[in-house]
């Protein structure tokens, strides 16, 4: 019930559509406890990177009112939200960008690039710089958005879970995302940041893919927003194994035909995907 109240207060139930969450069952006892966010409390500040991407815009729109969203991108982006253009270099501009933030949602997804080497360097270096700045400025939590492509080296016959070693293979985008995740993991291991790594599937809008051939990696963008909101709000993360401060979760639909299980996200965050195929 407490979770249901939180979701309603925070607007997450509305953002997730059709009030499905409000009518769902409450989270299991193993789920993380959300931070209460009374209306009179000032919103917490969260920075979302890669603001030029549709996913960042979707996350900004989907996060509950408990969070004031700031956006950043390497290029200029037109938005009504607070926005700062930043190259995420190792400089004062990146420090100033993260100063005063309670959390960062870092979209560590490889952008399309002609040169695969530049794709790797661009993503990994930006990740290192933003995390270094975040640690120096005392940012508490980072939600690191990465991709399930890290696991594409496994045969489809395996039920691959979060505790399987990533196998990105010879794909520059997946390799870049893997190396960026390795970078975040070190900040968590050194207790400099609390990192929740969400490996997401192929982000779609359920309505727009209706009638198309099913892809076992589909996840609706509103379910990604739900997972990010839960990862930001959880006061106590309880991974089944591993180091406190480092949590890896798989985020996609809970369709019986989905490629990966979301059980761990369900247990740790109380994630309840609302869109399935």
């Amino acid at each position: 019930m407490e979770r249901r109240r939180f979701l309603q207060q925070s607007g997450l139930a509305v953002a997730s559509g059709a009030g499905v969450l409000a009518s769902g069952t409450s989270a299991s006892g193993a789920a993380a406890e959300p931070l209460d966010a009374p209306a009179e409390v000032s919103p917490k500040q969260v920075l979302v990177t890669a603001a030029e991407s549709p996913l960042a815009q979707s996350l900004a729109d989907g996060l509950p009112a408990a969070w004031q969203v700031h956006l950043t991108a390497k290029m200029d982006v037109s938005t009504a939200r607070p926005f700062r253009q930043c190259g995420l270099e190792a400089d004062d501009a990146t420090r100033e960008l993260v100063r005063g933030m309670d959390a960062i949602v870092h979209l560590a997804l490889a952008a399309a690039a002609e040169d695969p080497g530049e794709q790797i360097d661009g993503l990994v270096r930006a990740t290192y710089n933003v995390l270094t700045a975040a640690a120096a400025e005392g940012v508490r939590r980072v939600v690191h958005i990465t991709s399930l492509a890290l696991l594409q080296g496994y045969d489809a016959a395996f039920a691959v879970a979060e505790d399987w070693q990533p196998r990105p293979g010879d794909d520059a985008a997946a390799l870049a995302e893997y190396l960026a995740e390795c970078t975040s993991r070190e900040f968590a291991r050194q207790r400099q940041l609390e990192v929740v790594a969400l490996r997401i599937g192929k982000v779609v809008n359920a309505e727009s893919v209706a009638g198309q051939a099913f892809d076992p990696l589909w996840v609706d963008q509103r379910d990604v927003s739900q997972a990010v909101a839960l990862a930001l709000a959880a006061s106590k993360l309880a991974p089944a194994r591993g180091t406190a401060g480092w949590t890896v979760l798989h985020i996609l639909s809970d369709s019986a035909r989905a490629r990966y299980s979301v059980n761990q996200a369900r247990q740790v965050l109380g994630y309840r995907p609302q869109y399935r195929w």
């Binding site: 270099e89 080497g117 360097d121 990994v124 270096r125 290192y128 270094t132 010879d170 390799l175």
Partner: protein, 254 residues
């Protein structure tokens, strides 16, 4: 064997050139022109200017080679450290894959794998531990290069030997009682391991990505060099243990 050396103008490069030149045909490269004395001494070998951050240039330099030895490193520049230490490895591995070069030797510091959560805590640390580089620019960027090599060795028919070092000394500086870090090797012994790495049959390596700690027989037992001995036949000639011999610190011979 025809061997491409990348980053050969650094501290390690001249020692490696000296060890390999008698038995191999070397293409000695660096982002800068080589010192004149090296060009004079090893004039029968080939010299080129190659920047490892330039993928097409690395690919071109690798043409016709049997092996690549990557000695390139940047320690402090926040942009170049990633571009040389991580992206450089990507270019090396792509060049090896495209030129069908099956033997690659990559190099780095010991904390590429054995960072602060091992060092100062554990003993008998072997090279085959999960990498814990920490968040320092140099170790982390090198560790990401290490991971790049590992992943791409899995994806291609390439055998990577990763040699990790820490403190390197001239033989004459192995002074009794002088002390030092418990991961020390002489330049001469360090260079010798590259000769061994070119000689070993690839089929004798347990996997396509093998990590080796290259240190002398340090008495502390903090880091292990037995894998290099076992697989490569490494036999350090210079006695680093004398650095910690008692009595010598007062000026007398032990």
């Amino acid at each position: 064997m025809k061997v491409l050396l990348l980053g050969a103008n650094g501290y390690m490069g001249p020692h490696v050139v000296r060890a390999l030149a008698p038995a191999h045909r070397l293409r000695i490269t660096d982002v800068r022109s080589p010192p004149e004395e090296i060009q004079r001494e090893y004039g029968e070998h080939e010299f080129q200017q190659v920047d490892v951050t330039d993928g097409p240039r690395v690919l071109q330099a690798a043409a016709g080679m049997d092996a690549i030895i990557n000695l390139s490193v940047v320690r402090r520049d926040p942009r170049l450290a990633f571009r040389v230490n991580m992206l450089g490895c990507y270019h090396v591995m792509q060049a090896a894959a495209q030129q069908r070069i099956r033997r690659v030797i990559n190099t780095g510091p010991h904390f590429t794998v054995a960072g602060p959560t091992y060092e100062g805590i554990d003993f008998a640390i072997p090279p085959d531990v999960p990498p814990h580089p920490g968040t320092g620019l140099y170790p982390l960027s090198k560790s990401l290069g290490h991971e790049t090599c590992r992943i791409l060795a899995e994806a291609h028919d390439i055998y990577v030997q990763e040699y990790l070092f820490y403190s390197l000394r001239d033989r004459g500086d192995l002074t009794p009682g002088a002390g030092g870090v418990p991961f020390t090797v002489s330049w001469r012994d360090a260079a010798e391991v590259f000769r061994l790495g070119l000689a070993i049959e690839l089929a004798d390596l347990p996997s396509r990505f093998e990590v080796f700690f290259i240190l002398g027989d340090a008495p502390q037992g903090q880091f292990r060099n037995d894998k290099a001995k076992r697989l490569l036949g490494f036999r350090p000639r210079d006695d680093v243990a004398r650095l910690w011999q008692r009595g010598a610190e007062r000026g007398g011979e032990p």
